[in-house]
Symmetry: C2
Subunit: 437 residues, 2 copies
């Protein structure tokens, strides 16, 4: 059995006070549970290994581990999972720069969730409702949702932290995205994922919808889950979806994000802005979801080698992600403040509803996170679908945003070119993304 060297000092300190011989064999017994996707035609089989017991009080499993090491009675126990080690570390000491990135990312997104929801509550005048949930095989999250508020129709700010096992097809996909991928020849691979997701849908059609997601992903070396090399990467971004175009809003949003990017690497903003335009695109409508922002994925050590020199790539990228996430409130709140109380007409509200229909189309048909989430067994569906707007509508052959060309519609007298100028202005920018910063 590979000794978890890195945790030895911690384990020794715990071992002194909490060796519990009687729990050792019981604690590490496991049960195999198989879940099958219920969708017809899907041959894929998800296998989830669920620890039989969750840690109850204290850190008895570490004690048991130490005990078995001391007595050399190691044949009947299994190594603790990463989830169990992280749980113990969190109880043992405060998270700091020496902590594993998993715990630092978890702390970052939880701190930001608190800060963001407090600020949004202040603006709306209504509190977020917070739901804390756990996953049977490790991890959990906090979903904060403010619904039918004064400013927001629906606002969701969710943290999720997941410890799980990747099935073979997911491993194949990840190997394709990462040059040096450890443990690519196994049937299943332990993973950790932590992310903050945010979607805000204000009532006022002049105030834009905004989306943000920052995430960290890690997989272990199956031969040595504790001390072996890890695959890890960051992903994320934020983008703005207005129903009506205010160029100064787009410039402010992009400029604020660009400044955060530029503090780390001047190539980031142009690269991630283009990536965002490409990702948030609705092919069947031939238009972007909104006016973009930044988007990136699979940012690992290899990415950094081609981009800039760094002694500690993980640290460098974490610092960038922290800063990008920190730029969210200053990028969005000033826009919200100046639009949330603007007068609007019923016609403008209906246009916003059509734009929300497009938002639903993108999220349900193309968004990889939503698609992956809905097909994951035991996923918390309510948290995944909090991104959907409170209300949306669809119109067949809408004279402005439908398939027909504007010229054809105008010819038929269905579109008053002057009256629909502002709606057409938005469509134009969705079909031809601009440089805003």
């Amino acid at each position: 059995m590979a000794l978890p060297r890195a945790w030895m000092p911690l384990m020794r300190s715990i071992a002194r006070s909490s060796i519990r011989k009687e729990t050792s064999s019981y604690l590490f017994k496991r049960q195999n549970l198989r879940y099958y996707s219920s969708k017809k035609g899907s041959e894929q089989q998800y296998v989830i290994w669920r620890p039989y017991l969750r840690l109850a009080i204290g850190v008895p499993f570490i004690g048991a581990l130490i005990y078995s090491m001391i007595t050399e009675n190691v044949t009947e126990t299994e190594a603790p999972t990463i989830a169990e080690i992280d749980e113990a570390l969190k109880r043992q000491s405060k998270i700091n720069e020496a902590s594993p990135m998993r715990l630092r990312m978890e702390k970052l997104i939880k701190d930001q969730q608190k800060k963001i929801t407090e600020e949004l509550s202040r603006i709306d005048g209504k509190d977020f409702r917070a739901d804390t949930w756990t996953r049977p095989n490790g991890g959990g999250g906090i979903s904060c949702v403010l619904q039918d508020g004064n400013v927001f129709e629906k606002a969701g700010v969710n943290v999720s932290v997941v410890y799980g096992e990747l099935p073979r097809p997911a491993i194949e996909k990840m190997r394709a995205d990462h040059k040096s991928f450890v443990g690519s020849d196994v049937e299943s691979l332990s993973f950790f994922a932590a992310g903050l997701s945010l979607v805000l849908h204000p009532h006022n059609p002049n105030a834009p919808t905004v989306h943000l997601n920052y995430r960290y992903f890690e997989t272990s070396d199956p031969k040595d889950p504790i001390n072996g090399d890890r695959n890890w990467w960051f992903g994320g971004g934020t983008d703005l979806t207005p129903s009506y175009l205010f160029p100064e809003d787009c410039t402010h949003f992009h400029q604020t994000i660009k400044e955060a990017c530029d503090r780390h690497d001047s190539t980031y903003y142009p690269k991630f802005k283009t990536w965002c335009d490409k990702y948030f695109y609705i092919p069947h409508r031939g238009e972007a979801r909104g006016v973009g922002g930044i988007f990136f994925d699979d940012l690992d050590a290899d990415f950094l080698q081609t981009s800039s020199s760094s002694q500690n790539p993980q640290e460098t990228l974490f610092s960038f992600v922290s800063d990008a996430l920190g730029s969210f409130l200053p990028s969005y709140v000033p826009i919200l403040e100046r639009r949330k109380d603007m007068p609007y007409t019923e016609k403008q509200k209906e246009w916003q509803q059509l734009r929300r229909g497009r938002y639903v189309e993108f999220n349900l048909v193309y968004d990889r996170g939503t698609s992956f989430g809905l097909r994951t067994p035991n996923a918390r569906v309510e948290s995944i679908l909090m991104s959907l707007p409170r209300t949306a509508s669809w119109v067949y052959m809408d004279p402005v945003s439908g398939t027909r060309t504007e010229a054809a519609a105008a010819d038929e007298g269905l579109v008053d070119v002057e009256e629909t100028a502002r709606e057409r202005e938005l469509l134009d920018v969705l079909k031809h993304p601009r440089q805003w910063a």
Copy 2:
């Protein structure tokens, strides 16, 4: 060149009046156009062969073909496509029992479209708007939509007729579904598809949404497209999606369809009812889309061999599909008539909107037709998405239909068990499908 023997009498009659030597080489020139899916990560490549010229007036291509046969100058021309032959046949004579199934199915669905839209217009008091469209590589359709009517928020009754080429992955999929599949080893395969799709969303939450789709699919033998063996099959069905449960409506709907099925084979209804419950299921919600009806796909000669003896399987199945389609108005109209003017509350309207959100989730995430359609180059998106409701809404953790158990919600005092009895009654039937006939 294989002579299209079956069409010889027709060709001779045309040849007498319309041989046009000068058009022969021009008409059969083709252009290769390549379309790539713009979705990132999709490696699949769609190749579409588009005839360079559409037929203009009369049937000059047949003349050219005959001419080239007469002069034995066949090396420089290609055989006419199935689309071109069908076009000529339609101009030449009335569709009857001796006509190819393609044309008989097209006639059936167009006749039914007319009959159904006339009846629904009569009930609504507002006319359908009809849009006729053509596809660059053969075929087209008629989309009839009634929007913001007196009875219907949105009602779509669409016919589409498509002549196209299947790429390799689609051929693989079809080979898997059909025991004896002709031409499975080629890179692309000509296909024909004709279908009638209908989705009706009434205003009144007491009046159920209904969906219907009947379709015929055919592929040619690539070695002999005109006279070779064909793969063909029928698919279809109809299902009901109420927001509030009226058991007598469900029974009437299912009973009417069952009677149509029973006239052909008593095993059809139970088989297709089960298939329907399985297909219209939303795994991430753990509930059915509605109270079902019938659904079937890939009904070919092999299916019939295991089911009942038939001298002419194609004729037998066409007769069944005609009858099933014919049972639509009697299965739905009596329900609509008794529900469309019932009084309802704002709360009931909001519940209907949540149910429509689920309808959107099924259609955009799971429905194979929608998914295939949205990813098909040159598809008519407005016709595909006419199935989406006019309006829909989403609520995070709805006390009745959200993820939380009813007991947990009631404990928290969020759900008045008596007040939500009718909503819970619907959910119960969506989670536990019943036998209605």
